[in-house]
Symmetry: C2
């Protein structure tokens, strides 16, 4: 690599690009397989809402026009959905872009960021790309240790990230734990709670984050349309914050960072209550189906509340991943998380789950 790479900023050069789930087409091309199922990226196995597809199709006819840079309609709709004032909602090109806008606004090379050791990899990549030191807090039983997080705060700490439930562990912290965290860190430290799987949660002790926003101006909530709403390919996420933070984010984001199809599909997705209910039902049933199947096979797993489950193969999971891949099922190895024996599998439809359990049986007892 010659000079023009080396002239780049050190923490960009040091960035290790995110390892995405393998696309179906790539596996088809490389392995000459068909009838492949992808349970690697926590996508909605039911596809997108038909109403979202219809709305986005309609939006395509005006796609020569730039989006409304203030995204009035979608933010208004999200305000009704979340009960958060429209001025405190910031949109992003996926929640990754939301988190990047937040990090870009607050973090520099003097900053320290607190994260769980198994926190979603994209956040760690971003934190490092902006030059911050990361303070990794050991998990307790794969759960965030909020007391240790509080104790790790120092004068350089700018943001504490809580991924809730966490990807890839599938565990969550409770409302009381989050309140403890908020009550015990300085009000100048941002507590950023990623709720990518929010709609799947029906645990009564799951945090009611929106209710906490009015009390804690340092609370930031990120959510996405890539999971339960099934439009990962359109890239749409949003942040719920206090007003001072949203004013800063408005300066940190690019004016047209969300595309017009995502806007139309996002609005329609929020209106399709039937699709949301069906997605949640399929996932709840699928989680039980997969857990029961894993137990029957004697495969250990981390109890999950989300639309995926992380399993412990007690052996080099990269090898298992490859074996499964050759049988046409794409899952996610967790080597980048320091979990070399674990695989993360997305909960699919009933038939997909049957096939997953079948290939696991074939490789596990081989």
């Amino acid at each position: 690599m010659d000079d023009l790479f080396h002239l780049g900023k050190q923490h960009i050069k040091d960035t290790k690009p995110y390892q995405a789930g393998k696309p179906i087409e790539e596996v088809e091309r490389e392995l000459g397989l068909s009838n492949i199922i992808k349970l690697a990226s926590n996508e909605n196995p039911l596809g997108p809402s038909p109403k979202a597809v219809e709305a986005a199709t309609s939006a395509l006819h005006n796609i020569h026009l730039y989006p409304d840079a203030l995204y009035f309609k979608l933010r208004k709709k999200l305000s009704q959905y979340t009960k958060v004032d429209m001025q405190n909602i910031t949109l992003g090109n996926g929640s990754e872009n939301c988190l990047e806008c937040l990090i870009k606004a607050y973090i520099d090379e003097d900053s320290n960021v607190v994260l769980d050791q198994y926190a979603f990899a994209t956040i760690r990549i971003l934190v490092k790309a902006y030059g911050a030191q990361e303070q990794l807090i050991p998990s307790i039983n794969y759960r965030h240790d909020v007391k240790a997080m509080v104790n790790s705060v120092n004068s350089h700490t700018k943001i504490i990230f809580v991924v809730n439930p966490n990807n890839p562990t599938g565990t969550y912290i409770t409302h009381d734990e989050l309140v403890y965290l908020l009550d015990n860190v300085p009000p100048t430290v941002i507590v950023a709670v990623d709720e990518a799987y929010y709609e799947y949660m029906d645990q009564p002790d799951y945090p009611h984050t929106v209710e906490l926003l009015s009390k804690y101006a340092n609370l930031v909530i990120s959510r996405t349309f890539s999971k339960v709403f099934g439009i990962a390919g359109l890239r749409l996420g949003y942040l719920l914050t206090s007003y001072p933070v949203s004013e800063l984010l408005h300066r940190s984001r690019m004016p047209f960072n969300v595309n017009s199809c995502a806007v139309a599909a996002g609005i329609a997705s929020l209106e399709d209550h039937e699709f949301l209910a069906r997605t949640k039902k399929v996932n709840a049933e699928g989680l039980i189906q997969v857990r029961d199947g894993l137990e029957a096979l004697g495969i250990e797993y981390i109890p999950s509340v989300a639309n995926f489950i992380t399993i412990d193969m007690k052996t080099d999971a990269q090898l298992v991943y490859n074996q499964i891949l050759h049988k046409g099922v794409i899952v996610r190895p967790l080597v980048p998380y320091g979990l070399p024996n674990h695989l993360r599998v997305t909960i699919g439809t009933y038939d997909q789950n049957v096939r997953l359990l079948q290939v696991l049986r074939e490789v596990y007892h081989a």
Copy 2:
């Protein structure tokens, strides 16, 4: 504004968000008008290519899946179109996102960036958001002064931006001028040429930038699908660079920064030669129509080679803008560029141009 705004990074706090062209719906809502035409954002008056709409519609059915993070198909297609090796093509969520990836990779608070005084505002906003000093070079007759640009380079200079043709002035630098610039700046200084209007150009002395890429590893070319290809609402742009730069950009961009509808529409747009030819013809004829009309009205303009033209109203153009707006035609005042008497108008269809000239006549001779 309380603490959590002030705790943000100084150059983000100082950012003045980009003033976008007013959306049609907003004008309808605010002024109670209908039959509005928008000639404010240099969009394609013919709309998107029907083939692009068809391809994007089809892509919507798999929109629950994340995009291929490497964007293999679109980059391969762009490689054929541009004659640049696929590994040297980086995609972005509009060319704004491309330019942000570049700036993020190279620029910090010690950096100095060279720009023309009338350079496209988004670039200046980005440069400042990343903390760099901008070195503004006075234009000569609204054209970039390449000699002054060369002379302004110092040991802190990281990037020289050439917007070609420039938005909002519509002027361009020639192949010889660009070669002069490249020959006279250190090979460690990036020369970033924004060619958002590339396909409109048929001037024989317009730079053949791709041919220069192999000789000058510090040359970066940015292009967009928002103008001639008519898919501004889908957000798609790309960078053509040398390999060391593309390797750095791969670490600077987010893995899913382009949505799947943009990918599908982008590929189809590159294949729709008929639409491209028709767009260019309508624009070439429209430019003549508008120039002739302006001359008949006695309104001065900056000679433009793009799909817009900047006119000098010899009076407060913000007032004229408002008068025109109330007649249902949205154009762009150029106060943010230090051009308080100028308006930028997009070349429309024949009928739109007639209407533009009509409202200009009404307000100019009022």
